[in-house]
């Protein structure tokens, strides 16, 4: 860039943005970290009492919290796995050329932009035990009357997530497939590579980084899913679909055990940071 500029110009440009982001991230996080060492109930109106690591100790010794971890893990693992498989299939399907391909891709990716709250509330109607159309279809196909929201709530939230986010996986994998250089597919054709070998030596190496990235994004996002589950099941019935983000919400804003909620939020955050690092390391090593 030319030297004909004020030295402060570039800094002035970034100051508002950096200041606001710093304010958004650093300040609340420090406050939350501080709160997590206090026993504080916002409803009681008593001043917070410093209790050190007591909140963390109680949380990590609580069987209920570990159960919430298992619930969250189940939801994340099964959703992301299904989305990966379906996204893979979709990507290969849309990799072929046919008329109306672009329109079909657009329609398939529509769920990505639809508001999670709308998705959650409307799936209540779709899964409704008496007049829900999913219930109706299931009965038509299997002959069983399946009450999704009472008997299989976990299945319901997974199916909802899969519906909304499989296209996300597809986008990544499709981008990978489209990025395979033409000469490579042609060479594979000339060398009469078997399908498995073609996949191993031509397709996989190109799409691998994108697959890793897609899994990273999806795992993170599934892990902190709140809106859709909150509006579809609210964590219930009972606590059967209460994932961690809902647990934190309930402790903080229904029971108002603020200190404890902040501690759990921090444990949650640490797990996310760890997961991110593991993924990034794996991705870098590849």
């Amino acid at each position: 860039m030319g030297k004909n500029y004020n030295r402060f110009f570039p800094v002035v440009l970034i100051i508002p943005a950096v200041a606001l982001v710093l304010f958004l991230v650093v300040f609340p996080l420090i406050w939350a970290l501080g709160l997590s060492f206090y026993s504080y109930n916002a409803l009681r109106g008593q001043p917070p009492v410093f209790t050190g690591l007591a909140n963390y100790e109680r949380l990590l010794n609580s069987l209920d919290i570990w159960r919430r971890f298992v619930t969250t893990g189940q939801f994340v693992f099964l959703s992301v796995l299904l989305e990966f498989i379906i996204g893979f299939g979709l990507a290969f399907l849309f990799h072929s050329r046919f008329k109306g391909r672009q329109l079909a891709i657009t329609l398939v990716t529509t769920p990505l932009l639809v508001a999670p709250v709308a998705v959650g509330i409307f799936h209540r109607y779709l899964f409704d035990a008496t007049f829900g159309i999913y219930t109706y279809f299931t009965e038509m196909l299997t002959g069983f009357e399946v009450k999704f929201l009472t008997n299989y709530p976990m299945l319901a939230i997974i199916l909802m997530d899969v519906w909304q986010w499989s296209p996300f996986m597809m986008l990544f994998i499709l981008a990978g497939l489209e990025a395979i250089p033409k000469y490579m597919t042609e060479t594979a054709l000339i060398d009469k590579l078997s399908i498995t070998n073609k996949f191993r030596y031509v397709i996989w190496p190109t799409i691998k980084p994108l697959v890793a990235l897609a899994l990273l994004f999806r795992t993170m996002d599934a892990f902190r899913t709140f809106d859709t589950i909150f509006t579809l099941t609210g964590g219930g019935p009972g606590v059967s679909t209460e994932v961690l983000s809902i647990t934190i919400y309930r402790i903080a804003f229904q029971f108002f055990r603020t200190g404890e909620a902040a501690a759990l939020a921090f444990i949650f955050l640490i797990i996310i940071i760890l997961l991110t690092n593991i993924y990034l390391r794996l991705a870098r090593r590849e």
Partner: protein, 302 residues
């Protein structure tokens, strides 16, 4: 012999083609069906929406779309005899959503574009660290920062105000605006700007008159994604608003606990609510992957 072979190949290719079409049709139907059913339900009366088995053919009613904007309308429920308040007064919530979305996007885009330009062109000291830091906020779960922000807002009086919500959405969408716009600035050649500098142009002029016009499309795409982000945001709106400042998603979510709710009416509200998304999916299609990854994955030309 040769002839027969090619015709056989042709048949196989034809079958493959048909199979592809059948599969494409099936998956497209699967992903579009809930949205179709939502829109269909919005044209059903209360009774039609509650029908078992579900109605596939019915006489459409536009009543729901009128009802959305009617105020304080009540109806005696047939079964229980209880008086139900059907009135949604939804126009308030749509207005709130619109106000908050447009204002916060305007500010976030402005601030974000300035920063993105600086990061892309001048690369001030610490650019990489700052950019990485900004990106890392994408991983930050909203619920973690929600707790301190909720109490902070109540404390300083930003709770239940437009300004509070707008400020929050500006902060939350800045990282996206910065990364997206940087990815677009990075793509345009620097030659023209450099030439302008040689001619003695002022830096801000170079930015606004030369660099910015080249990324108008990218700016549009960024704004499109920001609209979706803010319009769809739920958790903070739920925590930080009350009746006067409540946005549409909070209102929709409020129908969750109700028994015997009017699904036709809810569907109509939701249809209006997701309408921008249904339009934007077509406009943003080219940038979808980019938007979902903060501009870090460019995707390929389709």
């Amino acid at each position: 012999m040769m002839q027969r072979n090619t015709s056989k190949k042709k048949i196989i290719r034809k079958i493959k083609q048909i199979a592809t079409y059948v599969m494409v049709l099936a998956v497209t139907a699967y992903f579009i069906f809930p949205i179709f059913w939502l829109i269909a339900t919005s044209f059903k009366t209360r009774a039609q929406a509650f029908s078992t088995p579900p109605l596939f053919v019915w006489e459409p009613t536009f009543r729901n779309y009128i009802d959305i904007f009617l105020k304080r309308q009540t109806e005696i429920e047939a079964i229980t005899g209880k008086e139900l308040e059907l009135a949604t007064g939804a126009e308030t919530f749509f207005f709130n959503s619109f106000l908050v979305t447009s204002t916060s996007i305007l500010i976030a885009t402005f601030i974000g574009t300035l920063a993105a330009y600086s990061f892309s062109r001048y690369k001030p000291t610490g650019t990489n660290t700052l950019m990485f830091f900004i990106l890392s906020t994408r991983m930050l779960p909203a619920i973690v920062v929600a707790i301190p922000i909720y109490f902070f807002y109540r404390y300083i009086g930003l709770y239940n105000t437009y300004i509070g919500l707008i400020l929050l959405y500006v902060m939350f969408n800045l990282p996206f605006a910065v990364w997206m716009m940087k990815s677009f600035f990075d793509e345009i050649p620097k030659d023209i700007e450099q030439a302008a500098f040689v001619d003695g142009a002022k830096p801000f002029k170079v930015f606004s008159k030369i660099a910015l016009p080249q990324v108008y499309l990218g700016l549009g795409a960024t704004i499109g994604f920001l609209i979706i982000n803010v319009w769809n945001e739920f958790l903070f709106a739920l925590l930080l608003t009350e009746k006067a400042t409540r946005t549409v998603p909070v209102m929709i979510a409020g129908t969750r606990g109700e028994v015997g709710i009017n699904w036709g009416l809810i569907a109509a509200i939701e249809t209006l609510y997701i309408f921008p998304a249904l339009i934007l999916i077509f406009i943003l299609q080219k940038y979808l992957l980019r938007g979902m990854t903060f501009g870090t994955v460019r995707g390929v030309k389709q």
